[in-house]
């Protein structure tokens, strides 16, 4: 449980960080370290350099600009939980963050690290897909943006190219909506056996808009588009919900691990989708 040797840098700006990253052969940026360091201790990854983003003030903070909430990549899970702006505009982030790990991890684990990590067990990516968030990325040449919905390519494979750094996450603030993040885990501090994020808007007794995304039910987080489509335009009744659950189950492809067999995880995955839909509907109506 001792990592290999590596250089350690602590730059003051994104530009400097990008430069260091470019210079190093296989360097990695270090955020909270709660995913990266365990892997280094197991020597599953052995980067030659760590570029610690901890001293870059520009990467921190939460602000509202127009209809968007912009969250700096180095904002910790704890800071999300403590933020009144988040509570008011994007309460689903609260509901999700409180289910991540434990207080110790949340004090240092960051939102940027959580979304950039690429582990299907991370909770924030599915939520970001449901919210249709955009990741702002700084790179060796020029800055760019990538939609959360287009970011996840495979287990630990993302749209991020070598030398790129996620600087912020931009999330459109939805109007009056219902939301829920339902997560089944074995214990505090565990990754999801299955989890679902749901956002719903009701209009005149019908579901006007809906987004559903799934955590740890496939090699990547999944946007369950057919499941959402099964609800939109319909009254929030059992038939519609069952159709949505069936559609969500269809795209699930969970791993066989100590959390259970794929059959089990698909089965409970559907149940958690159902619970999240029902809770989101109740909130949307309330």
């Amino acid at each position: 449980m001792i990592p290999g040797t590596f250089e350690y840098h602590r730059p003051k700006s994104v530009a400097e960080a990008a430069k260091l990253l470019r210079k190093s052969k296989d360097g990695r940026v270090l955020a909270g370290g709660h995913s990266l360091l365990p892997m280094m201790k197991l020597r599953m990854t052995e980067p030659s350099a760590l570029i610690d983003l901890g001293a870059i003030a520009a990467l921190r903070g939460i602000k509202k600009t127009g209809t968007k909430l912009v969250i700096g990549a180095m904002t910790t899970q704890h800071e999300l939980l403590a933020s009144a702006l988040v509570a008011k505009n994007l309460p689903i982030l609260h509901e999700t963050a409180i289910l991540i790990a434990d207080p110790q991890v949340r004090y240092v684990g960051t939102i940027g690290g959580n979304v950039a990590n690429g582990d299907p067990g991370n909770d924030m990516p599915a939520v970001m897909m449901a919210l249709d968030a955009t990741y702002k990325i700084a790179g060796p040449t020029k800055a760019r943006v990538v939609k959360a919905r287009a970011f996840y390519k495979g287990s630990y494979e993302t749209a991020l190219k070598a030398g790129e750094i996620v600087t912020a996450i931009e999330i459109p603030v939805p109007g009056k909506h219902g939301f829920a993040y339902e997560k089944l885990k074995r214990k505090v501090g565990d990754y999801a056996t299955a989890a679902a994020a749901v956002l719903i808007t009701l209009k005149a007794g019908k579901i006007a808009a809906c987004a559903i995304a799934l955590t740890n039910l496939a090699p990547t987080p999944l946007l369950a588009e057919a499941a959402a489509a099964a609800l939109v335009g319909r009254a929030p009744d059992d038939a519609a919900i069952s159709a949505a659950v069936a559609a969500a189950r269809k795209i699930m492809d969970p791993a066989n691990d100590t959390r259970g067999t794929p059959a089990y995880r698909k089965s409970v995955g559907g149940i958690y989708v159902e619970r999240a839909i029902k809770r989101a509907i109740a909130r949307a109506a309330g």
Binding site: I2, T5, D190, T258, G260, Y264, S267, V268
Partner: protein, 806 residues
């Protein structure tokens, strides 16, 4: 003088003796981070060792290349089996009469087996050195399933045993067979089964798990070439045994070996045995002439040092149709992994598994245990239980529930009907034990009343009807468990370790000013001996607990003892402490008589001193007597006030208890909620109720973990799937149920203070209570026996196999 005078109560309170909820004195340092554990030991020039481990479960080693490793800055040496052969230490004896590779000799037999030991100037260099060692493996067929171990064409695991048709415990039937051990009367048992009204038979498996103490196994060895002396600090539950073993397998005489167990952060059986890490740190220190530290990480602890259980028990009960048990028959397939490294008393290859008749009056019984080798980590230690007692308790408590179901009888009622009655003690069990004392009916009835048993069964009936009517998807289970343990190993007539009788010992010295030091042969790994040993002495001789220092773990200063495991400390060392105290008290009485100018027989002990019978004002306190012991003893008497006692117990002790668990399970997700857990323990005389409750809370939490998901799981290739706390279930405070504790007191008749031991009861009795609750919940839907562990997904699988999931 009125015996109940406030003065008397005050004097008694001041002693903080037996029965007092005295706060744990060791916690003053533990809660301030001032404990002194092995990894806190730092010696000048100290080196670090780290293991190269096998990624394969079974492979031949075709070569080990250490050239690159030796070039890593800071690496000083790499030990392999070749080097160890030079000092005759490539293999070591196990406590179970087998031998075990210290470093892989020609082949590896389990994943993460120790292959080479890299010694470097610091841990980081050692870890880099480990990465640089190149090992050439040739994979061999892997045997994981113990049920396939004795197949005709099963791979040969132990080539070193080729041609050996018998082992330490008798004949071997197959190249992967270790021993067969039987107990009881086979013919009479068969006869009883032939004429029985009702029989049940079930394979009840107790899966592989691990003690996983907070502190992993570690050691620091320092060999002084000039003096020829070896000092070893280590995480040892039995330091004296380690000293003797070290002397026997090295050429160092025992008086030149100093073994020290400093503070130990939990043991639970994991720290009884001898491990390759200890041996390698010692050899490395001898080779380099420098102190060498070895510290296991979590993954190494979970995957390489002793696991627990992996017992596959086929249990059969014969009974009359009105539920009187007639006979018990059990066959066990015991998976010991690659080497038989069980930590049992030497003559007991299956521990005390013959306690499997439990709390019930079986007229006849028979049990047979077959031990086999597989490509898994060696061990089979007693994880917070006396040797194989938790396996036995689980087996009989599940089997009784299965019988109850078959008879359509309430499981509590079936137990009440078959308990050994109070007037039958001392009771000779069909499998050879003499139970010392018990009052099972009282304990069971008290438990049933406190939990509100009849009302719970009523509620369960309603819930079952609701479930069948489709009104709920929750099922409710009530788990009943009534266990009898056998602890306090043990009488020399039954028990030894490598030929050393399993006594224990205490030395007490009273200082002139009336304070004292007591040294004991046991070693607390969290059980609060420093607190409770002092309480025994306080009550016995009337010196306040606060004035008594308790010391354990240093083989140079402590009298020889067999250590702490199997709930033996209180039954054996606790008795030695009381006996040593009584020797002191006897001498003190003589001194007091001399001081008071009366005959010894005219004195009576009164809380904290001696009083002349009939002349209450004539009194000498222990403090005064202590001073006199160093100043004015009676003519002809040696000065001083100290005593040593070595206690060979006449019998084991038999703690028991009634546990109840109420659980709800959502069949669609398998998610359970523990609604209530009630534990009544009878451990005889209670030395410190607060410490007892703490022990019960801890043991129940482990039992909860084991029953509900804690396992060491292998895939078909012999890869460990649960090698870290991400997957190996250690519950946090959030998951842990609320514990309701209770007690009755039935003292042991043969123990000087009547105490029986309690540390392990909750693990032993808790596991069946949880498992019975799950099985009870599913019972009305047709389940007979669902194997542990009962984690969410397996509960769902159970529901699915009963047709409850669409």
């Amino acid at each position: 003088m009125n015996d109940m005078s406030p003065n008397k109560a005050e004097r008694e309170a001041k002693l903080e003796g037996m029965g007092c909820r005295r706060k744990r004195v060791e916690d003053v340092r533990f809660t301030q981070g001032k404990g002194n554990f092995v990894d806190d030991i730092k010696l000048p020039g100290m080196l670090f060792g780290d293991f190269v481990r096998s990624p394969y479960a079974h492979a031949r080693i075709k070569g080990i290349n250490i050239k690159k490793a030796m070039k890593v800055p800071g690496v000083l040496a790499v030990l392999t089996a070749t080097e160890l052969k030079g000092v005759n230490l490539a293999w070591m004896p196990t406590l179970a009469g087998d031998v075990q590779m210290v470093l892989a000799d020609g082949k590896v037999l389990f994943q993460n087996q120790e292959v080479a030991f890299v010694v470097a100037t610091d841990r980081y260099a050692a870890a880099d050195g480990v990465e640089a060692v190149e090992v050439d493996y040739e994979a061999l067929p892997v045997l994981v399933d113990p049920f396939k171990a004795m197949d005709k064409n099963a791979p040969v695991l132990r080539e070193d045993l080729k041609g050996k048709t018998s082992g330490a415990h008798g004949p071997r039937k197959h190249h992967n067979h270790i021993f067969e051990w039987t107990m009881g009367d086979k013919d009479l048992t068969e006869a009883a089964f032939r004429k029985a009204d009702v029989t049940i038979k079930e394979l009840i498996s107790y899966h592989r798990t691990h003690p996983s103490p907070l502190e992993t196994c570690q050691s620091v060895a320092s060999f002084d070439k000039i003096k020829g002396e070896l000092t070893v600090w280590g995480t040892f539950q039995a330091p004296h045994v380690i000293r003797t073993v070290a002397s026997l397998i090295s050429t160092i005489p025992e008086h030149k070996i100093h073994v020290i167990s400093p503070d130990v952060g939990g043991g639970f059986g994991n720290k009884v045995g001898a491990y390759p890490g200890y041996i390698c740190s010692i050899v490395a220190s001898i080779v380099t002439g420098k102190p060498v530290k070895w510290v296991e990480d979590r993954i190494e602890n979970l995957t390489a040092t002793s696991f627990a259980r992996d017992y596959h028990m086929t249990a059969e009960i014969a009974a009359t149709k009105d539920g009187k048990v007639q006979a018990l028959r059990v066959h066990v397939l015991a998976d010991h992994g690659a080497f038989d490294a069980c930590a049992d008393p030497s003559k007991w290859p299956a521990g005390f598994f013959n306690i499997v008749t439990g709390s019930y009056d079986f007229p006849v019984a028979h049990c047979a245990v077959d031990g086999v080798y597989t490509n898994k980590a060696p061990g089979g230690v007693a994880y917070r239980c006396s040797f194989r007692v938790t396996e036995a308790a689980y087996c009989i408590e599940r089997a009784m529930d299965i019988l109850a179901k078959k008879l359509n009888m309430d499981p509590a009622e079936l137990r009440l009907k078959n308990f050994i009655r109070r007037d039958q003690f001392p009771y000779q069990s069909a499998l050879g034990w003499e139970y010392d004392s018990g009052d099972y009916h009282t304990a069971m009835k008290q438990g049933m009343e406190k939990i509100g048993y009849p009302a719970l069964r009523e509620e369960q009936k309603r819930k079952q009807a609701d479930f069948k009517a489709g009104k709920t998807r929750d099922i409710m289970g009530i788990g009943v468990s009534f266990f009898t343990e056998i602890v306090g190993a043990g009488p020399s007539k039954n028990c030894d370790i490598l030929g050393i009788a399993m006594f224990d010992s205490c030395e007490i010295r009273i200082h002139p000013t009336g304070s004292a030091i007591a040294r004991v042969g046991t070693k607390s790994t969290g059980q609060a001996h420093e607190t409770t040993w002092a309480q025994i002495i306080a009550t016995e001789i009337g010196i306040p607990s606060a004035d008594i220092m308790v010391e354990e773990g240093n083989t140079d200063t402590a009298p020889y003892g067999l250590g702490t495991y199997g709930s033996r400390s209180t039954p054996v060392a606790g008795a030695a402490i009381a006996m040593a105290a009584r020797k002191i008290k006897a001498k003190a009485q003589m001194i007091a008589a001399y001081m008071l100018e009366v005959h010894e027989g005219d004195l009576q002990f009164d809380i904290d001193g001696f009083r002349v019978k009939g002349l209450p004002e004539k009194f000498k306190s222990m403090k005064e007597i202590a001073w006199a012991a160093y100043h004015s003893v009676p003519p002809g008497m040696e000065p001083g006030l100290e005593a040593v006692s070595y206690y060979d117990p006449p019998n084991m002790t038999y703690p028991f208890g009634a546990y109840f668990c109420v659980m709800d399970i959502d069949v669609d997700t398998g998610v359970y909620k523990i609604r209530r857990f009630y534990a009544l323990d009878d451990c005889g005389t209670r030395i410190n109720p607060m410490v007892i409750e703490g022990q019960v809370h801890g043991g129940l939490t482990e039992a909860f973990a084991i029953a509900m998901g804690q396992e060491i799981r292998y895939d078909a290739g012999g890869n460990v799937l649960t090698g870290s706390f991400m997957d190996f279930f250690i519950p946090t405070a959030v998951e842990t149920p609320v514990w309701e504790t209770d007690h009755t007191v039935t003292p042991s008749p043969h123990h000087p203070i009547g105490a029986k031991g309690v540390g392990e009861s909750p693990n032993v009795g808790g596991v069946p209570a949880f498992s019975n609750a799950v099985n009870d919940a599913f019972g009305f839907l047709g389940a007979t026996h669902i194997q542990m562990p009962h984690d969410y997904w397996r509960n769902w699988e159970a529901a699915k196999s009963l047709g409850l999931i669409k």
